[in-house]
Assembly symmetry: D2
Homo-oligomer: 361 residues x 4
């Protein structure tokens, strides 16, 4: 099977209902960060707005944000906290065209392969067959390596074992990772493994808890602060493999958002969470596939800002979003919040990474 | 049964091993935020340092932080990021007195009641009897209401149902809560319930998903930004019950730490997570009992900064730390990281709160 | 709120589609236990068959069983293993009347209260409000005490704590339990608690693991075999409370099905699982409410044989089916198999039982 | 690394404590199935009894069973339900030799490799490194293929996906499976897949739910009863792959124990659970490695009857016992009951089987 991106079909705007629909209405922001009454909130799906008689697709959309019409007549999707006095915001809470707003959930529906391959059926659990999911993902990632932008979102479990860490190194070196989003912990554990071959003081192969092993974690953080940068730490401490080393060696973007759970943190971590969101969204704006694994916090954070589609060279394509976890609760939580296009897989991150590394050359 | 705080026994410093032990050694910080080599890292247990021939207990300790000797000869336990050039830091990685550092894990051990009541036996699961745990907790909270400082750490599940929310209101009004730590979500859902009787658009009693219900969440946040403060929001929107209203009405301290998962956020939320940690620790420094429920993120964050004891009026007493969750993984995670004095209970937050409210007048 | 059983509406059989429909066809069983080709398999919902021009409701139905027309023209719903050569079995795999078979899923639909109170909305999790679920259940059980037949299905966690065991005792003594279905373990642990105040050697109040405590379990089983009956065991060993004692004292039916996991077993346990199913179904044929808690095995076993309705004095009423567990996977598993009328609650059995006992006098 | 079975060291019976110890005492069974007071219950570890001045190892032991001295002076470990009037049973509840009973937990302790490789450290979770566990298991299974007897215990999740089913087929054909223990469900789903390429009506590759798919399950069972045997079913229906087909084609023993949850059942299923236990134990008496996956019921049942060692040609070697599940609760439950030598892995059965098939040629 050669993977093919499913075709997208725009609504037929030649029909009467669209032709007769009014232009969208806007209201003006009167206080910074506060939307006018009856503002329209975006979804993860393609939405069109009728502006000057034309139906325009809102690109780079984000769920629960608002649509701002800038002074060049372009639509920008912005978080409430970025609203400024004088901004012109689209209002209306219908989605059927009657207020000039149209939500299009079925753009990929006519594509047979897509429907069979990816349509969702019932609650997914550890008992759902994943054979095809893996096959599809292998093909997808080979395609994306040449054509897409793959964002990985990972928690500590991705680096707690030698096998997972080696698999990650291989995947990054082979070009399957364009950006990595995470927190302080995953990076800290990975670098600890790079120096001491332990994570939280436990050997990542033998599972042996080394004496005074908890100091490895603290010493690593102390060294990082001493060197002032991750790059210098890697160089001075001769770290030659792992998630962070491979990202830096391959110019893969790293965004680490701070959390109140953090020790340290590493110098690279962004302490203000809303600034961290901005940095994350920069990569989500480019993403064609997102893979989230073993972190509920970062998975939900990323899911919140990821739409179901991406416009590349003027063409609409699906934005694939995978969540991988051993817990049904974790992977299904996002779906329950409205992110209905999420593909969930129940797997230990270690197995998942190993199988990817084994099947992607 | 009348609850009695177990007695604490200091080590017998008259024995030879303590008398012969050297004073602790210190090294000087040469770069901000970087500890000298061989720094000593603190634990959750009482630790004594020999200074000028005297064994001194480090008060207000925090796991994985360092001990700074200030210029008045007092010990301060500080996070690495607060180290400044010139600070004098205790070094040494033994805990048996041989370097002037003594870790005392058995201070409460001789107390019969304590041992029987609270000692940990084996992995706790949904099948562990909790009858005594509830009885103890009822007694403990009655005691703390008069004598202690109770910090509650809660996630959204604490306010997703009318019963839980009413129970919380009652507990706060009755004086069982001194500080509440949490994130943007729990406060947002609580305030949404206060205005619309929904949480994320679902009625908190009937479970009915109201039409366009997701706008309730966004509208609440938009209103909060419009009013600029939680207090004004509550007043203008006539919110008369719930977690946030009750905290404010009873002068209970609120600390909300930001997270990259946040919508909004509410104006009260602290965007910089390390500043949020500072605010949290202010209350943990006073806490005698901490109750964490239905939030893995905030539970771990709080667990990281909470010692196993508190000094009140010169006397050492236990600092009780409870975690409540439906998931064994969540409640046991903290224990696995070394917080061995945690009392875990497997319960739905709704049941837990209801039972507390029913049994505490 | 006074609880009212929702009204049931039969299909309108006066309409043309039903009048024109053919009578059902039957085929004859040619080998014991083997259904004829194209046999019709039953569901949990009301199904009507056209026999001699009349639409007849199949009573006491069971999912995945077949409909046998006996020689008095009555429909019996039987398991495949009970088919005998010469039996007349209804065939046809449509459910819209076109083959004389009509499935009626919406009989309770018009009832407003029912719809609001019990309709299912989305995946249920620990974050679903359960306040109304409890209120409804309290009212339902008060109603059933006078008018219904309540079957309880329980696993060991129902008796591992003193509080849960006392609550059960109270509920049984107050008349809220008509039959109890379970396995060897729950009964064994309950009787161990009755003699030794332990379950698997751990005190059910203090959590203290008594010396050589695992012998308590084995000694209990050995005693039970010595006395040859549960009744004699209870008498000779002076057991005066708990699940089994209360059931026997109140003439509550007990069915214990064997499992390959069993030690022992107790003399009362049925070793052949299909004979155990027969005994269980005797009570399910009478049940108006079923409450399953803390046992995945017995919950699924019971769910497999429980329809969504019961005919009492010629009137169709709902058969309420609750599952209670701390794990979403456990409670949702049954729903995923097609048992769509299940009401799931995420709770520790101890809390659930205590709240019931506290609220039912 | 070449795998080597660790060496076992018997206790040094030349020391005074063993020489001075008395012979074991016995008491006579006075009622069938009832052990005399003070009977000794066995554990999973090697236990020695002093008989006629000689210390004799009890072979083929089973936890919670009793030791019978037969009339040839040999020790047999029997379930209580097999005791008969006149049997001579060893009594005494000490294990230090003082009553002629000695429990030897450290026989493999001196072996360095074993200790490093397999010793248990702390609670295992999804965050425990499993790289070495997989490496060890690959080596172990290659060794066992030539020298051991590998018993597999599996639940339905082992056959719900095409990948898992193909992997199983490969492992069985390659000689890595000597006996398969399970229940009705796993065999039924596997055979349904063999005929219809579905499990419970859902395609095992495409996840597509076929129309009237639940009839596939029932039709399969109906066919099996029609043919009277699995072998004839496989032949007549042209099943050419999968778990059951491969077992039969390779003369791998199959034991299926009935459960009250069963539909059907298949003709091969044993309805009496205690007879099923007997059949299971026949294979456990030969087992050198046991792998349990994706079934809590059968895993616990097997764990109950599996000791920590096996005597092969007069030599004591470890009996390796693995449990694989996505849920920490499931895999740790067995450990919590005293089966301390269990090796637990957190994995989706599909990934686990695929990785084994990929790494074992």
């Amino acid at each position: 099977m050669r993977f093919k991106i499913p075709k997208y079909t725009h609504p037929n705007f030649d029909t009467a209902i669209f032709k007769c629909a009014p232009n969208v209405k806007c209201k003006i922001v009167e206080k910074d960060c506060v939307a006018p009454d009856n503002y329209h909130a975006m979804s993860i799906y393609p939405e069109y707005f009728k502006i000057n008689g034309e139906w325009v697709l809102a690109q780079e959309t984000r769920m629960d944000c608002v649509a701002r019409l800038n002074n060049k007549g372009k639509i920008e999707i912005v978080e409430f906290r970025h609203l400024r006095v004088g901004d012109s915001i689209i209002v209306g809470r219908t989605e059927d065209g009657s207020e000039g707003i149209y939500l299009h959930v079925s753009g990929f529906k006519d594509d047979k392969v897509e429907k069979e391959a990816f349509a969702f059926r019932g609650v997914r659990s550890r008992e759902t067959s994943q054979t095809m999911d893996y096959d599809n993902l292998f093909e997808l990632l080979k395609h994306e390596k040449e054509n897409g932008y793959v964002v990985w979102v990972m928690g500590p479990a991705a680096v707690f074992s030698q096998g997972a860490r080696d698999s990650l190194t291989k995947l990054i070196n082979s070009g399957y990772v364009n950006a990595f989003l995470g927190g302080n912990a995953v990076a800290t554990h990975d670098l600890e493994a790079g120096i001491y071959h332990t994570a939280l003081g436990q050997d990542i192969y033998t599972q042996h808890s080394v004496k005074d092993g908890h100091y490895n974690h603290l010493d690593l953080l102390n060294k990082a602060r001493k060197y002032d940068s991750i790059e210098k730490l890697i160089e001075e401490e001769n770290i030659t493999s792992g998630l962070i080393h491979s990202c830096i060696a391959n110019n893969v973007h790293i965004v680490l958002g701070g959390s109140i759970r953090d020790d340290g943190p590493l110098p690279i971590v962004i302490p203000n969470v809303y600034e961290a969101q901005e940095e994350m969204r920069k990569h989500i704006r480019k993403a064609t596939t997102v893979i989230c694994m073993a972190t509920q916090l970062h998975t939900i954070a990323t899911g919140n800002m990821t739409p179901s589609f991406r416009v590349v060279d003027g063409k609409v394509r699906p934005l694939y979003f995978y969540t991988i976890d051993t817990s049904e609760f974790a992977v299904n939580k996002l779906r329950d919040r409205g992110s209905l296009t999420v593909r969930t897989m129940i797997a230990n991150a270690q197995d998942f990474l190993q199988r990817l590394a084994d099947n992607l050359e």
